[in-house]
């Protein structure tokens, strides 16, 4: 315990002058994702979807870049529901992260295949 106080003070000093190196807003994403995986119930999946929507909304409001993969995950959910909005969100992923293009194209092709078969 004797190290706790100095450490805390040291930490506060650091915290005072440092700016976060990368700024992303994740809300309660990992929690929601974990629960949707673990319980796989409509309610937990709905919460996971909400967490994605909330990340997008809040990031855009705060002027932050939406974290890697979030637009894409949201697009994937929409596509599974047959929503016409899916393409808009997967395009946003590529626009935000050009390096995701190959992956996003792959996913689009997969979705097309599965819906046409």
């Amino acid at each position: 315990m004797k190290y706790l106080l100095p450490a805390l003070l040291g930490l506060l000093l650091f915290a005072g002058c440092a700016t976060p190196p990368v700024s992303y807003y994740y809300g309660n994403y990992s929690q929601a994702l974990y629960r949707s995986k673990k319980y796989n119930t409509p309610a937990s999946l709905e919460k996971y979807r909400h967490s994605l929507e909330e990340i997008i909304r809040t990031s855009e409001k705060k002027g932050l870049r939406v974290p890697p993969g979030i637009y894409c995950e949201y697009a994937y959910l929409l596509a599974k529901d047959g929503s016409p909005e899916a393409d808009r969100y997967s395009s946003l992923e590529v626009k935000t992260y050009p390096e995701s293009e190959r992956f996003v194209s792959f996913i689009r092709a997969q979705i097309k295949n599965s819906s046409s078969s």
Binding site: V22, Y24, K38, Y76, E99, S100, R102
Partner: protein
């Protein structure tokens, strides 16, 4: 709101005081992982962890805890939620089967520059009234999809701790603190935040990716290497 903040601070401090019991020495990122600076991987495909423990929930806890800290380290992480489903649809349930395969297809299909393999060797959680902690032993490797070489690796034990009783300082305090500030914001008995903290510590030696503001400038950064 006061109490969650206090708890958060304690988690933060405790997390910065780990690695007390392991034999360690210092090295620089550039000396230790020169290939990271040569290949500059950006797009990372995270495979599901290989679980060598008897804790059945370790795999899911750990897999949901990987992408976020990796993104904070500056990388583009291909969404695991989707890739897990893809792998299953291809009949790949076990990362073990891919370990020694050439990885070029991960680039061809998904544009991944590197693939992250993780193996959970130990997963001990304790949750009591006065203290809770998660002790994780992880083996992690980041392998290039172009050269198949190991770009970065980590092997060691991490204690994500709420009790504040660890006893060794960690010079990378500010770095880690910055990364996890946004990472942990839910007060809960779930182990997701602990697992995330473990990933943050796991990643402290990784040379930053493109989206980190010190990308390419951290080769002289000192890292702690566990024996």
């Amino acid at each position: 709101m006061k109490r969650p903040i206090a708890v958060f601070l304690i988690v933060l401090v405790a997390s910065l005081l780990v690695s007390g019991c392991a034999t360690t020495h210092m090295a620089t990122k550039g000396d230790k992982f020169p290939l990271m600076y040569k290949e500059k991987p950006l797009v990372i495909f995270v495979l599901p962890p290989i679980n060598s423990t008897t804790a059945v929930d370790a795999k899911e806890y750990y897999s949901t805890a990987i992408p976020q800290p990796l993104a904070f380290a500056g990388f583009y992480v291909i969404p695991m939620q989707i890739t897990d489903e893809l792998l299953k649809s291809q009949g790949i349930y076990d990362t073990e089967t891919i370990v020694n395969q050439p990885l070029n297809r991960f680039y061809e299909y998904f544009g991944a520059d590197a693939v992250l393999f993780t193996r959970i060797i130990k997963w001990d959680k304790s949750y009591t009234v006065i203290a809770s902690s998660l002790t994780v032993t992880i083996d992690a490797q980041l392998k290039s999809t172009k050269s198949n070489l190991i770009l970065w690796k980590y092997s060691g034990t991490i204690v994500a701790n709420l009790s504040g009783q660890s006893n060794s300082g960690n010079p990378l305090a500010n770095l880690i603190a910055n990364v996890i500030i946004t990472g942990i914001n839910t007060a809960t008995a779930d182990y997701v935040p602990y697992a995330q903290l473990a990933t943050v510590q796991l990643l402290q030696s990784v040379p930053f990716g493109k989206y980190h503001n010190r990308s390419g400038q951290d080769s002289q950064d000192k890292i702690i290497v566990q024996k």
